[in-house]
Structure formats: structure tokens, C-alpha cells
Symmetry: C2
Subunit: 335 residues, 2 copies
């Protein structure tokens, strides 16, 4: 299991974040049959850093189920990715190397926590505008926060140039590869009777591509017959992938979904392939998102605003007979 | 299993919060052997309201383990109590009855969420001063918030007088009875090799008495040989029970532990009996609490300030060879 360039298939030599030959991102593909013990599906890691991970609950409601994926060490699904990424980095650099990440939110907090758990230092590069509670969380884990005045691209470039190792979660494939565990978990929790549609928020696409790869692995291993409909959800004001899929041009603008801000995802081609093959892309307005957040919390389920997009999309368009909505972040993050 | 007055043993007739004969609180004792299936240990409830509860993780660190009891629907251990309390109320009143609770924090949020999940309305009476994030959380679940200008006693009295049913978590025994599940869970997760000391924050004592009753049940059922040392932890500035146990008088004042504010707990006699028989009371200063919170978060564990008291106490005085610290609230609640 070696990372290869998505386009030219050059093999990655070290921990570089993009292909030195063609500039594309690296991809990581499983080359063995699905193994029942989750950790055995990550042969490139000897020992996983642990912070109290466990199977996250599935809550069945009337006509759908919710996967509460914020029952997690730093309270978002990102921990699945940070855990593999940081465990992998820890085994491949000296422990005094600083882990650099660019994020203004959940990924930053998650990588900061896992870096601390691994006994390593981290630096999180953030744009000037950020959700205060998320920045506070990053800081509490002991990360150094570096505010960058500029575009999101400038923030990323500052992280890449900094001394240490760049762990950008959209680029380094060991992050999204960790998200495969979500598909395995759903498979195992439902005793193989997986949902026929899975709603997920879509921004940089680490969740979407991780889940896709997990189910593809289960399919090629003969464990499932069919990949569920993968329903990607974007906020109307930041819906580059939906626009590309349905050909309807949407204006960019700021949205209440603070975690879904990627405009030009490096994983674009994998996402588009996945959606065209297995899924749909649904965009939802700020009003729909906020209404969905309130409707869920009135059922006793408090998820972060960006995560409520999936319920907004479900209310708009019901897909499948046994749909599952992934709630990715704890509602305390955006009260 | 019928609630009886703690002092005069009068049996409770309805849902009254204190004994009409002597004014004391009601107590609820198990009168059967421990049953392996958790819900079977709550025979007074036909069907539990569900919000995605599950076994909360135990994280093993060097010389102690942490029970991350905030992996829970409203992100604090209170859900164990609210679940039984609200399920019980739901089965004993009409669904249009309003559930009244007095709390400025985690219990209020928890009861509000379970009331919504049960299809009932709730009203949470709060003091004027409160942690904003906790109030926001209560409101999001759909509860009506009633601010009361006055003492904590005034807040309680307003809740008691309001139309509906009073569900005060320190009074109605079905709340703390639900906390027994925590002891059962520890017993089952450790395959019977329970910790020899358990550190818990202490305020109104619902956690302490619930855990005590759970282990007593396991003991009288022959499942365990000995009750662990129950180490209650209070902030130095609000340590009425520690003061009573060790005879050292401490000044009252405000503390960083916003969730540990009870000065005159109605469960005082059960708590004192429990500590004298099985435990200790340790008080910790604000500085020690904040240092402990930071030290935990630098390990990647973000718990709320009041919950970090247990780690502060553990650093001050190590009890037992296999101590476990209960972390009761999610750190996002008090960033």
C-alpha cells in the first residue's frame, strides 16, 4: 500500500504533499481483501495513537438513521483521519518534528489533539476570520496557532513553507484513508445490511472520498453487493461540486456552514468520479440549514451547523429506502 | 422498587419531590439481584427514551484510566439520569405536561433534550448568572428558559411552583437512580476487574450517590467483592462536604468550576454516609483545576473545567493502584 500520484502514478518517496513530477495529489489504494479487525486494514501503521476512539452510535429515527460521528475524541469525524495521519507521521519522522496543518476548524483541532497524544508539537495555520470556539479548542490542545492574513491558498502555502512536516488533511492521503473506518463501522454495526443511501456534507472531500474508498473496498472484497447512493451535500453559496455535476452555476458567498468552505478541492477528480458513478450532489440554502439544525435539536440531537446540511438535504430530497445521514460535528462547536 | 422517604420511610404516592410527612427527600433502592442486561435493572420503566446512548470509552493512560463519560447525547454524564427520569415521567403523566427543571447547566440541557425526544415540553429555570454556552444549548433543544432573579433556592422554588411536573434532578430519585448504569458499565467494560479507586466531582451528589448505589448493588448481588474507594472532589471555594468530612472550615466563594455550586445538597446524608464508609473527599483550588484542565488537554483530552477537578485531585493525592477518573462533561462547554 504505497501512495501514488493520482494522475501520473509516480510513487511518493517521502512525505511530500504533491507529486514532484506533475503536481497532482497522491492517492492511496488498498491492495488486499477486507480484514475484519479494523486496524488490520491499515498495514502501513504499526501502532495507532489512541485518544478514546470507539464505534460511534447509530440512532434510528422514523424514516432514516443518523450516524452520530461526533462521539469522538475531538468531537468531529476528522479524528478518523487525524488518527491514521498522525500515527503514520509519528512512525516516519523524529518526534521533535513539528506537524504543520492549515485549517480553521475541526481538522486543526483534531490534528492538534492527536499530535499532543503522540508527544509531538503542532502548528495550525488559520485564516484571520475563524470561529472562536474552534480556535480556542485548537489552542487548548497545545498547538501553536499562526494567523495568516490572506486567501485560503496563502494560509496553505504558509503551512507548507513552515519548518517541520506538512500534514494538510486535503493533501496527505493518510488522512482521508483513515475515513475508510467509517464505512467499515457502518458495515459492521448493521451486520452487513448497510443503508442504501448515505448523506454526507462535502467540502474538501476527505469524508466523501474516504467513505467511497471504504465501500469500494468492501465491494471488491465481496462483503457487499452494491455501494450505497453517496449523497454529497453542499451549501448553496459554496457548491462548486454540485455546480459542476448539475451544470447549474451558483454564486459564491459566505454561508452559515463555516466548515464547508473549500472552493477548489485538490480531490476534485476523485469526488466527481464518485458522485457520477454512485451518487448525487444536493445544495441547500442557509435558511434550510438553520431550520434543519433547529429541527434536529428539537429532537434532542445537537449537531454543528455545517453538519445539519445533511438533514436539510434529506428533507429536500429523499433518496433510498434506508437512508443514513452522517452527522460530522458536535453542536457545541457552533452554538 | 418504590421510592420511600429517606428519613421516615413513607412511600411516595405520586411525583411529589419531597416527603409530605417529614419534608425529606425520597430514596429508591433496588430489591433484586443485578441483571446482566442494563435496562432490566430499571423495572419501573417499560421503554427507555433513546438519543444515541452507548457505553462510554475508558482511556488508559500511564498510571490511571479515564472514563470519558461525555460521549453522550448532550455531552455530559447527566444523560444517564435524565434518560431514566424523563422515561419514567413520560409513562406517568400525560404527554402535554410540562417538565420543569432548575439548573443553569448540564442537567438543564440534558433534561431539555430528553423531554424533546419524549415529545414533551420542558421549562428550565435558571439563575441570572449562567454560562452562555450552556444556556444556548438548553434553548436549542426547545426548552423554555425562565430566568429567576434571586438565590439558587429561589430558582428551585419557582420551578416547583410552575404548572407541570417538577423534575428537579437533585430531588426526584429516578434521576440519580439512572446513574447506576455508570457502575454497571465500568463493571462490564473491565470484565469485573473494577478500578480500586474512582474519582468523581461532587456537587449535588447525584453522580456520587448513583455510582455508590450501582456498586452496592453489584456487591450485594455477589458480582464484586469490594466497593472501590469513592473519591469525591470539590472546588476549595465550594466544598461543604469536604469541610464536613475533615472538619476544616473553608470559605465559600465563586470558583472556576461553574457546575459544582451546590452548598446545601438535599442528598447530604447519603453522600456523607457513602464517603465515611467507602471514600474520601478532596478539595482543589481554582489554580489546580485550571492547570489540570490544561494538562489533560495537552494530552488531547478536552473536558469541561468542572470535570478537570478529578485530575487536579489525582495529582494532589493518588489513591489506589488502578484508579479511574470520571470525566463528566465535554470541554467544548467551557472553552
Amino acid at each position: 500500500m504505497k501512495p501514488e500520484c493520482l494522475k501520473c502514478h509516480s510513487v511518493r518517496n517521502g512525505l511530500e504533499y504533491s507529486c514532484s513530477n506533475c503536481g497532482s495529489v497522491f492517492d492511496l489504494r488498498v491492495d488486499f481483501k477486507y480484514r475484519e479487525k479494523t486496524e488490520d486494514n491499515f498495514p502501513y501503521i504499526r501502532e495507532m495513537v489512541s485518544l478514546g476512539e470507539q464505534t460511534t452510535p447509530i440512532l434510528k429515527l422514523d424514516s432514516f438513521s443518523l450516524k452520530l460521528d461526533y462521539y469522538s475524541p475531538t468531537f468531529s469525524y476528522k479524528d478518523r483521519g487525524s488518527r491514521t495521519l498522525v500515527s503514520f507521521i509519528k512512525e516516519n519522522v523524529s518526534t521533535d518534528t513539528v506537524i504543520n496543518e492549515d485549517s480553521s476548524g475541526n481538522a486543526g483541532a483534531s490534528i492538534a489533539a492527536y499530535a499532543s497524544a503522540a508527544g509531538m508539537k503542532s502548528r495550525v495555520f488559520v485564516p484571520l476570520k475563524g470561529v472562536k470556539s474552534k480556535l480556542d479548542q485548537i489552542r487548548l490542545y497545545g498547538a501553536e496557532i499562526v494567523q495568516v492574513n490572506g486567501t485560503r491558498e496563502d494560509v496553505k502555502n504558509a503551512a507548507i513553507k513552515a519548518e517541520g512536516v506538512y500534514a494538510g488533511h486535503s493533501y496527505i492521503p493518510e488522512f482521508r484513508d483513515g475515513i475508510r473506518t467509517l464505512s467499515y463501522e457502518i458495515f459492521s454495526q448493521t451486520n452487513g445490511s448497510i443503508p442504501d443511501a448515505i448523506y454526507m456534507p462535502l467540502s474538501a472531500g476527505t469524508l466523501f472520498t474516504g467513505v467511497l474508498r471504504g465501500f469500494e473496498h468492501l465491494l471488491t472484497s465481496g462483503e457487499i453487493d452494491k455501494i450505497p447512493d453517496l449523497v454529497a451535500v453542499q451549501p448553496e453559496r459554496n457548491a462548486p461540486i454540485c455546480s459542476e455535476v448539475d451544470g447549474i452555476r451558483r454564486e459564491f458567498g459566505s454561508s452559515v456552514a463555516d466548515a464547508l468552505v473549500t472552493r477548489d478541492p485538490p480531490l476534485r477528480s476523485i469526488i466527481l468520479d464518485g458522485i457520477r458513478k454512485y451518487g448525487k450532489c444536493i445544495s441547500v440554502t442557509d435558511n434550510e440549514i438553520l431550520e434543519a439544525r433547529d429541527a434536529l435539536s428539537h429532537k434532542g440531537i445537537l449537531t454543528e451547523i455545517s453538519s445539519a446540511t445533511v438533514y436539510a438535504a434529506f428533507k429536500k430530497k429523499k433518496i433510498g429506502n434506508r437512508p443514513m445521514l452522517i452527522l460530522t460535528g458536535n453542536g457545541l462547536k457552533t452554538l
